[in-house]
Amino acid sequence: MSFFKRRLPLLIVLFTGIVMMISYYVPHKPFSQFWDGANKWYMLIAGFTMVLGVVSLVRNHYRKIRQGKQGFGYSIVMFIAMIVTAVFGVIPHSESSPIWGNRSGSVFMWIFDYINTAAAGTVYSLLAFYIASAAYRAFRVRTLDATIMLITALIVMIGRVPYGEMFSDFLTNSIGKGLVFLRLDNLTSFFLNYPVVATRRAITLGLGLATISTSLRVILGIEKTYMGGD
């Protein structure tokens, strides 16, 4: 039992990991065939994960309703929304019955446009209000780091809108062309093209190295948390 539960999955991961690594650098048969096959399998499995997601969602919310847990009403709403959307979306569209399917003019697209998009857009746009309030209350020049961040943020915020460009035009025209490097739009471009790029590269390199080391740990069977153990 221990072989099937513990060792076999580790052997499959070891074999797949090593062969996939070789396949990336050796694009010839039989490795290229294995590479293509594995990628097609991955797509199929990814499709099935959605079914798994639906099953898990149904089980979770069904349990909430059956046990009458707090907020079970939302679970009922979830079931109604899921069933209505799925039924209207799954039945094929035809010229005689345009309300079915996922084409424009169908109930599915109506739900997408007027419920999904509207609700998601509302929640997302609330961020502007929270950011404004948080900026007023918490964005303070308490330390040197915070001051540098605040000044940079102010320059980028003004430099990215037309008023910033107009203000810069006014400054360079009235003070002198020699100060062109101090234009807010030029400073914004400088921040985005140099400090941001440098920082981003450092993060990306760090992430890449971390991914390689984690992948090696998984392939070699050192990291086994994906199997549900420790």
Binding site: N39, G47, M50, N102, V123, L150, V161, D185, L192, V196
Partner: protein, 284 residues
């Protein structure tokens, strides 16, 4: 003075929210018609599409969720309008489950808009939308080798093998250009498996919050350009000589940026004034 600073620091959040709401709504009804300056990043995407010969094939990727539609839809429309004006053939695809409806909407809007202008676009010949395909990185790898075999059918259920627009498309490399409309880091995956393996040129159109993160890719030559947020969208609209949703949205965004800057300055002046007077009192 301390009392005044304290009062400013403890200003009711409802006042901030109300001022913000007014700043958003007023420019919508009374446009400011602010000038738009074109940046090199946006010109990078525009020039790439503009220099393609008629009949070239462009793949437009709809990798953004409905929440980002107000920001990304104007760019999607601008890019599609540009492609159709240049007589390019456009194929759409989505890598996100929730992005598929966005592509369907944009394709329909463009088709009916040009129909009204007298330009008839034949679905399957001039444009086609493949919809959502699962598998993320594996999907892109498979598209690179066998585009039709990976898609199998389009969003409307048509057979990919029988679509004239895909006739001479074997893999991703047969497209002349790829435009990635995104609100997450999906463009990195397209760069990794599209640009690096197949060699397809990529232009990014993304939300403003995602743009700074991909300047490193632009600098490395992995992207031809970046159209970032409403600002980038308004620049693209200006290049196409029309005033669309991005340009009108920029009016509100400009006022909000100025308002937030004022909030930050007031907050900090009040904070510094309070600290200054508290120190003075302690000295006494």
């Amino acid at each position: 003075m301390i009392k005044f600073s304290d009062r400013l620091l403890k200003i009711d959040r409802r006042i901030i929210y109300s001022l913000l709401a007014i700043a958003i709504i007023i420019p919508i009804f009374f446009p400011l018609n602010l000038p738009v300056k074109i940046t090199d990043e946006v010109r990078g995407v525009y020039n790439e599409i503009d220099n393609l010969p008629p009949g070239s094939k462009v793949l437009v990727v709809y990798d953004y969720e409905p929440a980002s539609r107000p920001e990304v839809d104007p760019m999607a429309l601008a890019v599609m309008r540009h492609c159709v004006r240049k007589d390019l053939k456009v194929v759409g695809i989505s890598y996100l489950e929730l992005g598929r409806g966005n592509g369907e909407n944009i394709f329909n809007m463009i088709q009916s808009e040009f129909e009204e202008k007298g330009k008839h676009l034949v679905y399957g010949e001039d444009l086609a939308y493949m919809g959502f395909k699962p598998g993320r990185s594996a999907m892109i790898l498979n598209l690179g080798k066998d585009f039709k075999g990976t898609c199998v059918t389009d969003y409307r259920g048509n057979d990919a093998y029988s679509m004239p627009i895909l006739e001479d498309i074997e893999g991703l490399g047969d497209f002349e250009y790829l435009v990635c409309l995104h609100d997450d880091s999906s463009v990195s995956i397209w760069i990794l498996y599209g640009f690096e393996i197949v060699g397809i040129k990529i232009g990014a159109c993304c939300t403003a919050v995602m743009a700074p993160g991909i300047y490193a890719n632009l600098d490395a030559g992995q992207l031809t350009g970046i159209v970032g947020g409403l600002k980038g969208g308004s620049e693209y609209e200006k290049l196409l000589n029309y005033r669309g949703m991005a340009t009108s949205g920029m009016d509100s965004q400009t006022v909000i940026h100025i308002l937030i800057v004022i909030f930050i300055l007031i907050g900090n002046f009040s904070y510094l004034a309070k600290e200054h007077y508290l120190k003075k009192e302690q000295m006494r």
